[in-house]
Structures are given as C-alpha cells and as structure tokens.
C-alpha cells in the first residue's frame, strides 16, 4: 500500500494522462470530422458506444481467460500431468498460429453471431499466452530449488504457493499482459460477426474510404491496449518489487 501511495503518479497520473490524451483526440475528431460522411459516424454517442462495447468484449474475455489459463497452466506442471503438459504446450503453440479472423469466422458458423461468439473466440485466443507462460514459468524453475524445498520438508502445496508461484510471477504476468494486447487488437475483428466494438469504426471507415474514421478506431484501440498494459505492468512491479516500466 505504501508503495502505491508513494508512487501515486505512476499508478494514477500516467493512466489519467493517457485517458486525457484519448479524450482530447475524440473531442477533436468529433468536432473536425472533415465531411458529412465521417460526421455521421463520429458522434460522441457512437464513439463511446463502440469503446464501451470494445472494453466489454476485452474484459470479459480476459477475465475468463485468466481464470482458466492460470489454473490450467499450474495443473499441467503437476507430476501426474507432466507428460501431457508437453503435448498441450505444443497444441497451444500451434493454436496461436491460426489467424484470429479465422477463429472468429469458425465460431460464427457454430455459435451464430453477436457478443457471446465474440467473447468465446477472444477467450480462446487469449487463453493461449496465459496458459503457455504459466506452464513455462513454473517449468523453468531450477529443479535444485524444488529439491531443497522438499529437503526442508515442504509439502507440494507449500512448494507451489511459496516457491513455484512467487518465482514465476513475472512470467505469468508477462503472459497476461501479452494476452491483453492481443485481445484488444483482435477484438476489432469482432465487428464482422456483429459483436460491435471499435472494429465498427475501422471497417466502416475502410468501406467508405474515410481515413479519419479508421484512425479514430485504431487510435482508441491502441490507447486502450497501452493503458491496460501499463496498469498491469504496475501491478507486476508492485508484486515483484522490480521496475518493469522503465
């Protein structure tokens, strides 16, 4: 807590500045759309709605991905499951190479269109880096440390909570941060299946050839990714006591 108060600027000031920059940008483009076509798309009401839909998609997908990815990653490192761990890791790596648009299109066919399909596809896509990093983080701990812990008479639960997890925080957090950035970007694709979000702006701008609409969607999506990544970076730093953002 002390650290948070001491570094209030890092915790609140920087995100606030980023949010103010985004707000200034939105105010500027709404007042200077440069044409009737863009003006119809770029109203405060529309932009806020798309932003809200985007944040909504990203948060639900990421929340669920964290909730499943971290425990699943931990489970795969348990001695009994260690053998399939390698297999799952490979499947996960291959899965990450499937284009995000293809995943959305695939689940559209089975789940229909709309918000739920969007969240499901994003969730699947975000789970991969989280699960992989959790698995890799725990696996990369030197066996000697675990042996020493065993020698001290620690049981497996204690080893997990006192040795394995604390030592792999940075890697796990890095996985979550990767997932955040991927998720914010991929969520722009959800527009194709009617799930809304900032992709609405980007694709609309593309189809009527109005750069300012595309720019607004892209800028807000990028800012969202930067802000979320920054905040998670602060959390990571707080946990490990290391300065990761500088």
């Amino acid at each position: 807590m002390q650290m948070i108060i001491k570094n209030w600027f890092r915790w609140l000031g920087v995100p606030l500045i980023l949010i103010l920059i985004s707000a200034a940008f939105v105010i500027y483009v709404v007042n200077n759309p440069g044409g009737a076509m863009a003006a119809r798309s770029l109203t405060y009401q529309n932009v806020l709605r798309y932003l809200r839909e985007h944040v909504h998609l990203v948060f639900v997908a990421l929340g669920l991905a964290t909730a499943v990815g971290v425990p699943a990653g931990i489970l795969l490192t348990r001695p009994k499951l260690r053998r399939i761990g390698k297999v799952v890791e490979n499947i996960v790596n291959v899965g990450q190479t499937i284009p995000s648009l293809a995943i959305l299109a695939l689940f559209y066919v089975y789940l229909g269109l709309g918000f739920r399909t969007g969240v499901f596809a994003l969730w699947l896509y975000c789970i991969l880096p989280i699960l992989r990093n959790t698995y890799a983080g725990i696996k990369s701990i030197e066996p000697g440390i675990i042996e020493a812990a065993l020698g001290m008479g620690m049981n497996p639960v204690k080893i997990l909570t006192r040795i394995e997890l604390p030592l792999s925080y940075p890697v796990i957090m890095a996985g979550i941060r990767t997932a955040v950035v991927i998720c914010v970007g991929t969520a722009t694709m959800a527009t194709f299946i009617g799930a809304g979000g900032l992709g609405d702006l980007i694709v609309t701008g593309l189809s009527v050839r109005r750069t300012i609409i595309i720019l607004t969607g892209a800028f807000l999506s990028a800012m969202l990714a930067i802000i979320l990544d920054y905040i998670l970076g602060q959390v990571e730093q707080y946990l490990t006591g290391r300065d990761v953002n500088s």
């Binding site: 909504h56 918000f115 006192r162 299946i193 009617g194 009527v208």
Partner: protein
C-alpha cells in the same frame, strides 16, 4: 521475496483482475437487444443513400442498429437476432430463408434494373437479336430472379443447368438448338451468380435462333466487362441501370425512379458510346430492407412506410 505474504497478494491480484474484468462486463450484456433492431453492413450504416438517409426520409428510428458483415445480415434476420435487416434485393437467401423485401414506396434507394447491352454494330448486322433477348426480360421479376439465384447459391446447382431449366419451363428453348448459321456473337458477364445466370440465358436463346455464340461469361468485375464491350471483345452483356449511370456515365447523383434512370441511361449510352440498351427487367438488384415473412404478414407490413408507421406507433416486435 519468497514468502506467504507475497503469494497472498498475488492471488488477490489475479482474483481481483478476474473479478474486475468479468464484473465490468456482465453488467450490461449487449448481445440480444430487444425491440426494433436493424442489421446493416458497415457501408450502408453511414452512406447518405443508406441508413441515415432512409430513416430521415421515412421519418422513423430503429431502437438499435447492429453493424456486421454484409453476408451475415440475412442469417441474423432468419435466426431472430434482429427484426429488420438490409441486403441486396435479388439475393437467393431472401426466398430461401423466408424473408421478404419491403417495397421502397418513396423511391429512396437508387435503382439497379438489369438490361441486355448490345453493341450498335452487332445490332445493325443482326437486328433480330433485340427481339430474341427481349423475350427473356419480362419473365424476370424480383421473386423469380431471387429463386433462380437461390437455386445456384443455396441448392448448389450449376448456373447453366438452372438457366436451361428456367427457359425450358417458359418455352423459350426446345432443348435441342439447330445447327448455327449466323454469328458468331460473344456474350459476356460479370462473375457473380445473377450475372452468370443471365449470361447463360442469353447464350441459350441466341443458340435456339441459330446463332453461333461464344461463352465469355464470368469475365470479372464491372469495369472489366464494360471495357470488353467497349473494346469490341464481347458483343452482349447484362448491365444494371444504376451502375451504368454512376460508374460508366460518371454521374454523381443517383436516380431512384426505374423508368427515368433507364431512359436517361439508354439515351446517353447510345449517343456517347454506341451501346444499345434493350428492355429492362422488373427486378431491381438494389439495397433492400427485409423482414421475416411471418412478422411482415402479422403486422400487415408491405412497404417501408408501413414499417415506419408500425415503429412510430410503438408496436412491439412480434
């Protein structure tokens, strides 16, 4: 750094991250919006001759607008995820999915009626071509064209099979064309279903009358086929009045009345480019506003004005 306190705070952070992420989202589930929800593609949602102009002219507002890829508006409407959707008037899925086009009674959308285009020199040499092709035109209303498209797109038949069956049913061909003694003439088309069908029909009726016909259907996009006609590489293809008015004759403002658009295009294209427009079809492959047939019947909606009235009266979606 390896201690229980750190673990507790870590668990707390992961848990609160999850809670924050999920709870933030679960509050307002924007998935299935009730009421008069309209599905549109991205382009139609902002074009002045799209959604904004439509609601302004007819004087109504939908409760919500869902933007999605053009191809899936039909499915969204069929599955009940929206009450009204936009699409293209002669798409095969409209009849296949039990949807109905609402009549654009205030002529808001630009018109895209279809007509065979023939080069003047070809018509001078074989004047009978005009009568031969004009025989097909009156058969092609919106319902017919839409179900022909559906036969290809939904039932996965070949365009030439569908065209042949249609012409046989209407007694325009005998199924056994005579030995060719005239021609050759070349028939082109763009590369989507409706164009392939129309191209095949033109080929078959001409062959029936003893022409030797080169099949150049499926050439490419609008610009390519038009260039082929102007460059005398093909002699005949089907073009849409609105497309010619805006793309080939380079006018900025769309015309929304079928006869007016056809007359102007025919006059100008003959004068400037030596291209003759034969009769035009009743079907008009323009933007359309669609509803489910059942809903439309229940509320007695036939035109977009009816829809506007129903929405303005506050009638709920069936």
């Amino acid at each position: 750094m390896v201690d229980g306190k750190l673990f507790k705070s870590f668990a707390l952070v992961v848990l609160s991250l999850f809670m924050a992420f999920s709870l933030f989202g679960c509050g307002n589930d924007a998935d299935v919006s009730d009421g008069w929800v309209f599905a549109t593609d991205h382009e139609y949602s902002v074009r002045p001759d799209g959604y904004p102009g439509l609601t302004e002219l007819y004087g109504f507002e939908f409760d919500d607008v869902e933007i999605m890829d053009l191809g899936i508006t039909y499915g969204a409407l069929r599955d009940g995820q929206v009450a009204v959707a936009m699409g293209f008037a002669t798409d095969g899925r409209i009849s296949a999915f039990d949807l109905v086009n609402l009549e654009d009674d205030k002529y808001f959308h630009p018109v895209y009626n279809c007509s065979p285009n023939v080069r003047e020199e070809v018509l001078d040499e074989y004047p009978e071509i005009a009568d031969i092709l004009n025989e097909i035109v009156p058969l092609l209303d919106e319902q017919t064209m839409s179900s022909l498209n559906a036969a290809v797109d939904i039932d996965e038949k070949e365009p030439d099979e569908v065209a042949e069956e249609f012409l046989l049913d209407n007694g325009l061909i005998s199924g056994a064309p005579p030995e060719p003694d005239k021609g050759p003439v070349s028939v082109g088309s763009k590369e989507f279903t409706e164009q392939l069908l129309l191209g095949q029909m033109a080929i078959m009726v001409l062959e029936e009358e003893g022409f030797e016909v080169d099949d150049d259907t499926g050439l490419g996009g609008t610009a390519i086929v038009r260039e082929a006609l102007e460059g005398e590489e093909i002699d005949i293809y089907w073009e849409y009045t609105g497309t010619a008015w805006m793309a080939h004759l380079e006018h900025e403002d769309p015309i929304t009345e079928p006869q007016e658009c056809y007359d102007k295009v025919r006059e100008e294209d003959l004068e400037n480019n030596g291209i003759v427009w034969l009769d035009y079809t009743d079907f008009n492959n323009t933007y359309t506003i669609m509803m489910r047939q059942d809903d439309a019947d229940e509320l007695g909606i036939v035109t977009i004005s009816d829809l506007a009235d129903v929405i303005n009266e506050g009638t709920p979606v069936p």
